[in-house]
């Protein structure tokens, strides 16, 4: 009995200490409270969609032309006995979500190239991306049942310089004449150089990036382009991985919330402007 009382007292002290800590302006920056709330809402939505069984199982992704063409692109490379070139672009590091999304797609593509014995060439500008890509492709080849078809030399670090990288990849495209090129990741100004060179050798090109400007170049120069979050949905689409599809569902829910927020803010700002009322400052965080 005494020990339980003591435990209860200690617990109360602990809770009081936490409360005092959180309410202390030094420990918690109250100016960032709106950001914390938004972050917590996002976390709850992602966890809910990931672990809530019925929500996860019912969700499907609409048809995306660029992703339907992945199988076709790999098949084309196999039939023409030409390699498939996959590049994650120059602009991203491994910690960038776009690069991680690209790695997910790479694992799916590698599994297919392993099955069809199609050569997969992967030049990269970052040594860490090279190391991760080597593991991803090796693992895909192993799971596909063809570990002997894995070629580590085809996944190589080229250079960290942007146009050195563009020149090197252009050289590879011109000499190897790949039948299919995947441009999936973060690209900067080298995007059109790579895409046009790929076009000149007659390759089918599937592109996707998080840069709005380079997207415009890809739309003009490539056969298929993944716009915006289609890149993040791609690996779930190809593999059917429920956790990735759950994230896509979470994104949709958050977009609806943002959309409603925009409508409410727009209406309030309009009313405020028409009647001279201060209704438009509350979302300024």
């Amino acid at each position: 009995m005494t020990s339980r009382l003591l435990a209860a007292v200690h617990l109360c002290h602990f809770i009081a200490a936490i409360a005092a800590t959180v309410s202390d302006p030094q420990w918690f920056d109250t100016a960032r409270l709106p950001t914390l709330i938004a972050a917590l809402v996002a976390i709850v939505i992602v966890i809910y969609t990931t672990y809530h069984g019925s929500t996860r199982d019912k969700f499907t992704v609409r048809r995306i032309a660029g992703l339907e063409a992945v199988e076709e692109a790999i098949g084309r490379a196999t039939e023409m006995a030409r390699p498939l070139l996959y590049t994650p672009g120059w602009g991203g590091d491994i910690q960038r979500p776009t690069t991680i999304a690209s790695m997910n797609i790479l694992s799916q593509v590698a599994a297919k190239t392993a099955q069809y014995d199609c050569r997969l060439v992967y030049p990269t500008h970052d040594p860490v991306i090279m190391a991760v890509a080597q593991e991803v492709v090796k693992s895909s080849y192993l799971h596909a049942g063809y570990p002997d078809r894995y070629r580590p030399d085809d996944i190589a670090y080229v250079t960290s310089s942007q146009f050195g990288y563009a020149a090197a990849v252009d050289g590879m495209i011109t000499r190897l004449k790949p039948a299919s090129i995947f441009l999936l990741g973060t690209f900067e100004a080298e995007s059109l150089i790579l895409a046009e060179t790929g076009n000149s050798v007659g390759a089918i090109q599937i592109a996707g990036t998080d840069s709005t400007i380079q997207l415009a170049f890809f739309i003009v120069a490539c056969d298929y382009t993944l716009i915006g979050e289609e890149l993040f949905a791609a690996s779930g689409y190809l593999s059917g991985d429920r956790s990735i599809l759950a994230s896509v569902r979470a994104q949709d829910i958050m977009k609806v919330i943002i959309g409603l927020f925009l409508i409410v803010a727009g209406v309030l700002a309009t009313i405020g402007a028409l009647y001279g009322m201060a209704l438009s400052g509350w979302w300024g965080f």
Binding site: Q26, P127, M130, A131, G164, A167, M254
Partner: protein, 206 residues
Amino acid sequence: MDRKIALVACFAFGVVMFAQYFSAHPVAHQVNQAVLEYWQIIFAFALVLGVVGFCQTNVTQVRKGHDRPYRMAALAGFVAMPLLATFWGIKAGSPFLWMFENVQAPMQSTVFALLAFFVASASFRGFRARSVPATILLASALLILLSRTWIPGSMSNWLPDAADWIRNNPSMAARRAILIGIGLGSLTTSLRVIVGIERTWLGGGK
């Protein structure tokens, strides 16, 4: 076991860095500073990985006879530049800086300049009035191109305003929508990495 340690470390650092963002306490700032310093040290080791990988790949390919001239040129530069920097330094007037300004910079500018030619050929091929939306796109593109050009006379008054309207309204709205989508995709991917659902960065597998 290795993967479990990596996942636990990822989760721990993710939570700590998330929490410190919302704190103004000096301890939080110290934690932030320390982690950032670790990050830069790890990055330095990653460069070593790149150097070793570059050498191994190119030497192997030269031995096999694949793309020999290009790979030998790459290896020559790879050896020469550090030697020049080590023996003569990297300040103004040094051979290293001469090579950078007179060899590397012009080569890079040349490749960048290719973009102008490729834009011309892509525009010739891509801007076709195949449908109503394509025609609207074509008209907008022509308007904006003209607005960035020096044209004498009265057109120079309304052209920039029209181009700015297209840039600041329909184009901006589309870009913002794509940015929101990409931002949400980045958010969910990052959360999956921290929580351990996403394990691609560990090198594939579950």
